[in-house]
Symmetry: none
Subunit: 396 residues, 2 copies
């Protein structure tokens, strides 16, 4: 990819990466979600496009959202890792800096001997969670000059950022991951992480002082540092904008340096945001979450209908005349599996310079016969840049 | 592959890797062996499967059985090498330990000035070979505490294992590979191999003492150490069984830690073994040798008939309800070439989670149009694990 960074040049052409989360599926009664869906607009677009299938990480590997998106954004997901704590922080909408160590927390219940009797403190309500986080935050703002930032999550979950200099995440998790044990005392696993471990121990100690039963303990795991990714803008000479409705995807986009546009809650809000900002950027990441959620729920027909809804906005997307448009998924989420999967992502790439496959329906099986073949998701950005005439020649 | 090892989990699903040695061919009068063969069962299976082509090593490389199988078993054939001596030892059915250096030997004839006049001692009979090996073994059992294990091979060939501590294979071969020269004295090529060289010189000296014309010399080459491969069972959390009729393939399977099942001499014996042991393992390597042998013989029609015979057992294989079934070759052996070749291997993968290509005949050309595309044989195991739901998600 260093080569691509070196060859990238700026021009006025507009690239649109349209990501339908969990797009790819698997057959139920012989047809995948995409095959079942009535998608006349995507099909017409496919006919003018070149198709292919992408692997986010490698053959057979089912990726989480983090690695799947990194690959799509042009970052090798095996080289750059986004730790659990960071992803959790992004998911609740926290803005991370490069000085942050993020960690996910559970509110838990311990008995009078300090033994964990409930790792989830009876799955307290989100309202109760918010109330407790507020108390924690009021009582603990700084330890050894390091800022402590607490944010509530769903049920028993919360996130803490430790923001300061000289912090490293190589410390023991305090969550033993099963009940009947005491919490683990946080210890450094490397000499450079001593400061972090000390601060965590102090944080746990102070937290215990202000908490009361049944929510009388915190358990911390997934300590992770901001990954410090080089910005897309700089790497690819693109001004990049993110249009997404869910915090985690905005967070991932922020990690690679995109501008995050206010995009509301629905695909129609997102479309409006795209139109409004069309002239201000030359790369747009447009994210649609619900296909993944419906796949995870095992709701085959719901996913089919969602894909049909997505199809209906395609003409408005095309009316903006993007120079390069890619429609794909980050990973597959077949309803029959109710989870992310290893199946490669269907992808279409439209530009005036493609040699169209002339295939008349956008489906997994048709993408398998497409001119782009099967390739790593990591190649999507280089291809978009190329079709956007944004890559210089290599060598003489 | 380290990633796959890390993500592998155990479950009850059964994987069957059905390897037709030398499966792929090349056209004679316009059709390959597989295209000429009448294979209704494989064709019906192909229709429900996803197809592809695999490269054992890399584009254009013709592999030996060793690297081709390593790749299929999930071991990078460029990282792990199986030396000639080891392969020869496996071929005659010897069981190797990690303390062994294996070497192949020729019985030869030297004249009274010690010059080699026949590198094959007149291609003595296998019976004569066995007799001489017995004499050698009776006279030479141990040198410097190292066990010497002699095993006869075909015609003038035999194998010796040197079993002991502190042995390294970096020594000169004693076979000058042409007549009119004296045998080469074995010398160490690295300081750590001094002991080995000394033992080999002593072995040759003592052998000369007990041999008599025309078989009055031994020539040694292909010194190789047991490769010490990490076991498949451990890497992939699979309990693995090998069903094969030829010693070399059992030996290769043993190197990667498979249990070797007694499988008789024919495909029907092998099938019976598979049925009997179906409940005891979760991964089966099922090897059919004859397609390769017939290809090597240049027997196009014989290979066609063999493929038809293989086809006839497919229904019985399917009646076991494997969760994931791969039918492929280790390498191609086109009858028109009378040898292994670089042509990629046709492959079909059947599982309830595939998006079938709907292609109705299992051939090289159809596999080239399959949804799996063209990929390294090394990805076969990751794919089988994925379709068997035996790989955890990577990243969050």
């Amino acid at each position: 990819m260093d080569l691509v960074d070196k060859l990238a040049i700026k021009n006025e052409r507009k690239l649109l990466l349209f990501v339908i989360d969990g797009l790819g599926g698997a057959p139920q009664d012989g047809k995948t979600e995409l095959e079942k869906a009535n998608t006349p607009n995507l099909d017409r677009l496919a006919e003018k496009s070149i198709l292919g299938l992408t692997d986010p990480v490698s053959s057979g590997i089912t990726p989480g959202s983090g690695p799947a998106h990194l690959a799509l954004f042009g970052y090798d997901p095996l080289k750059y890792e986004i730790g659990r704590g960071v992803l959790e922080a992004l998911g609740v909408g926290m803005k991370l800096t490069e000085k942050d160590i993020a960690v996910r927390g559970n509110f838990a219940t311990v008995n009078d001997r300090g033994i964990i009797v409930d790792r989830r403190a009876g799955r307290i309500s989100s309202v109760e969670n918010e109330r407790i986080c507020k108390i924690l935050q009021e009582h603990i703002r700084k330890i050894e000059g390091v800022d402590i930032i607490v944010h509530s999550g769903k049920e028993h979950r919360f996130v803490v950022l430790f923001r300061g200099d000289g912090l490293y995440p190589d410390v023991l998790e305090t969550d033993p991951q099963k009940e009947g044990n005491p919490p683990i005392e946080c210890r450094a696993r490397t000499p450079e992480s001593e400061k972090m471990a000390r601060i965590v121990r102090e944080f746990v100690k102070r937290a215990k002082e202000v908490l009361s039963p049944p929510t009388n303990m915190i358990l911390l795991r997934g300590f992770a540092k901001h990954p410090g990714l080089p910005a897309m803008n700089k790497r690819f000479k693109l001004s990049c904008a993110c249009i997404a409705t869910y915090p985690m995807y905005k967070g991932l986009a922020r990690l690679v340096g995109m501008d995050i546009l206010e995009s509301g809650e629905t695909i129609y809000n997102e479309l409006k945001t795209l139109k409004t900002n069309w002239h201000a950027f030359d790369f747009f990441y447009f994210h649609i979450k619900k296909a993944d959620s419906l796949g995870e729920d095992g709701n085959f027909n719901g996913k089919v209908r969602l894909l049909e809804e997505v199809d209906s906005v395609i003409p408005e997307i095309l009316s903006l005349l993007p120079d390069v448009l890619v429609v794909t998924g980050d990973h597959s989420t077949p309803a029959v599996l109710k989870s992310h999967s290893w199946h490669p992502n269907p992808l279409l790439l439209y530009s005036e310079f493609v040699i169209p496959d002339g295939i008349t329906k956008f489906t997994e099986r048709n993408c398998a016969r497409g001119g782009l073949g099967r390739f790593p998701s990591l190649d999507v950005i280089p291809l978009m840049l190329a079709y956007g005439l944004k890559l210089k020649k290599y060598g003489a």
